[in-house]
């Protein structure tokens, strides 16, 4: 079979394994930018379980800190990270509320409103474990004023021991 000096190697098993590996990594990988936001280090709760039924639409709000590059350096914030902007708590009323009202208008155009003018779309709040609770409540209030009334507070499962 082989020519002088060259050896035929059967590549089939290696390619099998390599494709298995690729498939595994493709399935496991998480491209969702929201889920991998390093600025939000979420609170841990042992009861946190992923929801069984994912709602059709949701509004995800991330609240976290801009931490220094090295761990343990001073952190700024908390900020709301929304559509590429960094909104401090003090300008929720002026900056974030109009954005949220626009979001609500889109809900209206899409026909997602109930008969009473409220939306069923839940607001998912991913807040950093070190955020002051008052700031999270302020965020909830602004959302209520815009017409949202279902909230989902996210927490992370503890690391497996």
């Amino acid at each position: 079979m082989a020519d002088s000096g060259s050896v035929d190697i059967d590549m089939t098993p290696m390619i099998d394994i390599v494709f298995q590996l690729i498939t595994f990594f493709m399935v496991v990988i998480n491209f969702d930018a929201a889920d991998t936001d390093e600025r939000v280090r979420m609170a841990v709760s042992e009861l946190a379980r992923p929801p069984k039924v994912k709602p059709a639409g949701e509004l995800v709000l991330q609240m976290g800190f801009e931490r220094g590059r090295a761990q343990g350096t001073a952190k700024e914030g908390p900020f709301l990270f929304y559509s590429g902007e960094r909104i401090p708590v003090t300008s929720f009323e002026t900056v974030f509320k109009p954005m949220l009202e626009r979001e609500f208008q889109i809900e209206k155009i899409k026909g997602n409103l109930e008969a009473d003018g409220k939306t069923k779309t839940p607001v998912v709040i991913r807040a950093d474990a070190e955020c002051p609770t008052g700031d999270v409540q302020k965020l909830i209030q602004i959302c209520q004023q815009a017409g949202y009334e279902k909230f989902s507070l996210k927490a992370m499962q503890p690391e497996a021991k």
Binding site: M11, M14, I15, V18, F19, L21, I22, F25, M26, V28, I29, N30, D35, T36, M42, A43, V44, S45, E46, L47, A48, R49, P50, P51, K118, P122, V124, R126, A127, D128, A129, E130, C131, P132, T133, G134, D135, V136, Q137, K138, I140, Q141, Q144, Q145, E149, K150, F151, S152, L153, K154, A155, M156, Q157, P158, E159, A160
Partner: protein
């Protein structure tokens, strides 16, 4: 040009494939996926329903279980209190809170326990982690198999308190 086909004596033909570029690309892919892979803990959520203008006790006939979380100025927990009873501020306090709520609920899973509502009243500065821990302690616990068992479905927040030093 190189001869691509070797015709065997019986008309049997074998095509020599050059595997090198494919294997190059495939290894690149593997390395890319390996480097971008991030194993993360699962996320779960606590659902709360908070329509605007809903006052205390309006959503159900039963008065809510009131859980008060007081904070130190730096945002750490000072005490947890349920009703008027103070429970301390360490891990044990959350376990106590869990037991107290379970006592008040009675048997989990009954129609009565579905109506019970817990109201969390927290200081402005308190770190959110403690609120999540309190919500965890108020809503359920893990059973022997490590599966979560929820005994309170409804949580709400008391109106936010003023920031310390803001008047």
């Amino acid at each position: 040009m190189a001869k691509l086909r070797n015709h065997g004596p019986g008309g049997h033909e074998k095509i020599p494939l050059d595997m090198t570029p494919m294997i190059d690309v495939v290894f690149q892919l593997i390395i890319f996926f390996m480097l971008t892979l991030k194993i993360r803990a699962n996320e779960g959520d606590f659902n709360i329903n908070m329509p605007l203008g809903q006052g205390v006790g309006q959503s159900s006939e039963l008065p809510p279980i009131k859980v008060r979380l007081e904070s130190n100025p730096d945002g750490t927990l000072r005490t947890i209190a349920i009703g008027r009873q103070s429970l301390g501020n360490d891990e044990r306090a959350f376990a106590l809170l869990n037991r107290e709520v379970l006592n008040l609920v009675g048997r989990p899973g009954t129609a009565f326990s579905k109506d019970i509502e817990v109201e969390i009243d927290s200081d402005y500065e308190l770190h959110y982690q403690y609120v999540v821990s309190a919500m965890t302690a108020c809503t359920g616990k893990l059973d022997e198999k490590g599966q979560p068992m929820r005994f309170v479905e409804k949580i709400k927040f008391a109106p936010p308190r003023a920031k310390r030093g803001a008047g």
